[in-house]
Every structure is written in structure tokens, then in C-alpha cells.
Symmetry: C2
Subunit: 204 residues, 2 copies
């Protein structure tokens, strides 16, 4: 697969190298499941580059554990033991954020979501990760738990070279406007239409 050629040459005063290495804000939205799957696939590439990977899942249930989590934790151990790839951190809202002292009761999802964003915001300021996966992050935005304007300005003004991938349906327009890449996963055909439920290894 070719690396692709830009369709226009911008007049932004940057060299090709500067432009190429610009940190990206990616949004995976649309009705289909591939949003998170594709974000984790991207994180695999980042891991291979030796980037520090930070995953933040804005999911409600502590029980929810995707196969990717186990695989990335294994890759994090590979890095610790051999130096190959990059370090991996995986945090979930549903079980109480791991940096928080609060237990995972989480009756107040809005407060938990906001706490997650505050931590991400601190990490962005500290340039802690090379790639941030904010999984299902559009929902707390949609529900008004986290202020979209604050998120947009924090992301736009983030220092250094930090890539950010945000997944979830109904990405807010303001977020889409500042994103460098937006992919929409569109359903053409799905087994649930034919009455089949999700199955392990495929849906989670």
C-alpha cells in the first residue's frame, strides 16, 4: 500500500517533514462497531513505534473487558521485559479510574467521566503519552457531562507531539471541525439484522 500523496500543497509555511510529523487528532464515529477496534489497531502501530500508549475507556460497567485490553497488557509486559515497543496504560471509568482513591461504585457517572477528562487534560499538559485512545468519549460529551468547548480548546492547544484518537457515535460538530481525520464506520450488512447475537472474540 502506498503511503499516499496529498491532493493539495498547502501554503502554511511548514516543510513537508514538519507537516508530516504534526500530531493528529482523529475521530472514529458512525453507527458501526469498528470505531474502537480500529482505534486499538492504530494503537498497535503506535506501540510498535515505541510510543507511550494511554487508553481511557469511558464505559460504565466495570465488568466490561474487551479482548484488546488483555492483548495490550501483554504488549506492555513485552515492553517492560524486552524494551520492544512502548509502555501501555489502560484505564477504565467503570471500575473507578485506577489513579483515583474512590471505589468503583460510580453511582455518579457524570462526576467519574469529568474526573477522567481532568486526568487526561493533566497528562496532555505534561506530555505523558504519545498516543491517547479516548474510547467512547463522545457519550459524556453528548450528555453534557464534560464541556465540549473545554475539550476542543485543550486538544487544539495541546503541547508537543501527542496523537489523540476519540471514538463513539455522534461526535459533536465542534470536535469534528478541529479533527485532522474523521472516519465514519457505516453499516452495510450486519449479522444482527439476521437475528444473530454478538459473540465473544468478534463483538468483545
Amino acid at each position: 500500500m502506498p503511503q499516499g500523496q496529498p491532493s493539495v500543497t498547502p501554503v502554511d509555511g511548514l516543510t513537508t517533514r514538519q507537516r508530516r510529523n504534526r500530531p493528529l487528532l482523529l475521530v472514529h464515529t458512525g453507527e458501526m462497531k469498528g470505531k474502537s477496534t480500529s482505534a486499538f489497531g492504530l494503537a498497535l502501530r503506535g506501540w510498535n513505534q515505541g510510543w507511550s500508549i494511554g487508553v481511557f475507556q469511558f464505559v460504565k460497567s466495570a465488568k466490561w473487558k474487551v479482548g484488546e485490553e488483555t492483548a495490550f497488557r501483554a504488549l506492555g509486559r513485552v515492553h517492560e521485559e524486552t524494551g520492544e515497543g512502548g509502555p501501555v496504560e489502560w484505564h477504565k471509568m467503570g471500575e473507578g479510574w485506577s489513579w483515583s482513591r474512590k471505589a468503583g461504585s460510580d453511582e455518579d457517572h457524570a462526576a467519574a467521566a469529568l474526573e477522567g477528562w481532568r486526568e487526561i487534560s493533566r497528562r496532555l499538559a505534561a506530555e505523558q503519552h504519545g498516543l491517547y485512545v479516548l474510547d467512547e468519549f463522545t457519550y459524556p460529551l453528548k450528555w453534557g457531562w464534560i464541556d465540549v468547548d473545554e475539550v476542543v480548546s485543550t486538544l487544539v492547544d495541546r503541547p508537543g507531539h501527542q496523537h489523540v484518537v476519540i471514538t463513539g457515535r455522534n461526535a459533536p460538530d465542534k470536535l469534528v471541525q478541529v479533527a485532522d481525520l474523521v472516519v465514519e464506520m457505516t453499516k452495510v450488512k450486519h449479522p444482527m439484522d439476521a437475528g444473530q447475537k454478538g459473540q465473544k472474540g468478534i463483538e468483545w
Copy 2:
């Protein structure tokens, strides 16, 4: 994320469990890059289930190596050393298929592609893998190097419980018709539109 509920209840004589565990044929198509990335994300879940993962990349250049390959080879070693996850095989057409005695000169891409399909066909008959990723497989189909009807009948009649994911643009209609799930990656916005070239860790 809920596991989802089917929108209709089929009258196919299968129990819910039988239907749920049906092996799936997935097609990732459309104009955007997420096709392969998403397929490898799916393979992460399969690895976590302990499935044998077989990746077959129908790419022309031997030099092309995606970050996912390094990560999956690391996961394959994790499996060998700890028993966690499943075994991983990663084969590329461009460097000469690893099971083949031929060197990787491959002036004849059509013959190499067909050889790849013959091997996949043998493995499907032998029920060798739990998940097959046929990456960029739509191209040899489109170019007539591999017979679409043969592929469709082999896939439809495959024995046991083997999942297959096929990626690439312009998936043939006959393939889409027999697929259980088809996802189309649609471009909403892409940095190359703004004159930015691809960068490592993101595009490869």
C-alpha cells in the same frame, strides 16, 4: 457497550447459542484506511480468545511492514512462552509466501496471489485457524487473478468454526452477498486533503 440485540428473530431452526456461535465472514471495504487496522483490532480479540490467528497479506512490496506485524509477532511469542492468548502466523505475498520455496522476486504477482489463495483454501479445509485475516484480498479478486466464484464457494462451504475477515476496496458483489458483516469505511475528513503526507505510527 451492550452486546446488542438482534432486530429480528429468524426461523432457521437454530438455537440462539447455535446462531451466536456461527462462524462469520466479515468484509471491511470502502475508501478509507481503517479497513486493515480494524481487521487487526479484531484479531487482537481473537488472540485473547486463544484462537489461532492466520494473517495473509496480499501486498506487493516485500519492504512493506506494518506496525501490527511486529506487535502480533510479539503476541505470538507471548503465547509460546506463557500460553496466554493464541498462536499467530503472519504471511506476506510480497516477500514470497513463507511456505513457498520460491524466492521473493515475484515478477508474477498473479501467480503469487493464486498460490496464497490455494494455501488458504488448504488451511480452511484442514480447519487450521480460528481467524483468518485476508488483508488486501479484494485486489487480486478485482484483477481476476483469483476466481471470485471459487473463493465464494470455498468460504461458504468451509468446515468447522473458522472466522474470516477480508479487507480491501471494491469488494466484489458476490462476496458481499455471502458475507455476514460488511463494514464500509467512509472518509469524512483526512489530513491528506490538507496537504499532509502519511506518517509512521499512523499510516503504517
